[in-house]
Symmetry: C2
Subunit: 189 residues, 2 copies
């Protein structure tokens, strides 16, 4: 049931059988249909969420009703609204499924317990956060430096597997472009 998740963890650091059992005991499986919300704006996000299968998006909606995609999370990635999680305030993000998905949820209390009990998980979690931050800074760099065309090619490089799974207008949203602009950028080359 949590095989993908456990294998992911095992590929990152060493786990004893007891630790595996402990982790599994706090995991909850959530299945999402396409378009189903994992988190809706206004609710507090209280989990660590790992995508075992499928693809979800994290996005915000502005005053004009436009969606702006902050992140895609496919298999073996994490999803969530870290701000809501840390501050325990209502989320400004929505998360929903682009494809039918399978998510492993662990509550904050359980996750903190795991961090304390399993030192290797703690170390891994920090490394993951560090790398995630580096990726975020690279994206900022692209956002402030690149033209529409360069942004698109950067996306192809950094997310090669997503191109065929994510509708183009969502890639445009992620890049801060209008769908028409992305369409033109793509045909130009």
């Amino acid at each position: 049931m949590f095989d993908v998740f456990i294998n992911y963890l095992k590929s990152k650091f060493i786990l004893t059988d007891e630790q595996v059992t402990l982790i599994q005991s706090v995991c909850h499986l959530k299945k999402l249909r396409k378009r189903q919300y994992l988190l809706q704006e206004g609710d507090v996000w209280r989990f660590n969420a790992f995508v075992q299968k499928g693809l979800v998006r994290t996005y915000r909606v502005d005053d004009k009703g436009l969606e702006h995609i902050i992140q895609f999370s496919s298999e073996n990635w994490w999803a969530g609204d870290r701000y809501s999680y840390l501050s325990e305030t209502p989320a400004r993000c929505n998360i929903d499924a682009i494809e039918e998905s399978e998510i492993v949820l662990i509550t904050k209390a359980d996750y903190d317990m795991l961090l304390e009990t399993i030192p290797a998980l703690n170390t891994f979690a920090r490394m993951l956060l560090e790398r995630t931050f580096v990726a975020a800074q690279n994206r900022i760099h692209a956002d402030i430096s690149f033209t529409a065309e360069e942004k698109y090619h950067e996306f192809l490089k950094t997310h090669p597997t997503l191109i065929n799974r994510v509708p183009q207008h969502m890639i445009a949203s992620y890049l801060g472009l209008k769908p028409e602009t992305l369409s033109r950028v793509r045909t130009k080359k």
Copy 2:
């Protein structure tokens, strides 16, 4: 000599006198003149750097020689190229002083030792990283969603103290705008 740094740490968590002494024993003070490099592209970044006084910028230079500012770090903030630090590869960022500055440097080896020796520092470092990541995501959101004018007002809100210390063309660079555009945005209101 490291008073500002030690007071910063003490304001974040409790430190014993021995821990203070230990920390001080691995700190190095670096004074920067205006425009002096703290890190130059191509060198490997090997430190944790805390700004005690002054103001530095982290930026990248593109093919056309244009500078794109990733981050400003003033008193009581950190600076560095985390990617270079983690991967021990040549930095793509430059860091230099906007004002005469005073930086506390701790090497990676010493910093890791501190993390292991002082559990409260470890916890604090993770919390700091988490909050920094949230801030980075908020900036991404602004970059992909806002108009030039909105970006500027967001900057006023999130960095109120920097407006009078950072030349406008650098704020423009941070926001991904041209200096002329920022100038026009400012006078329009």
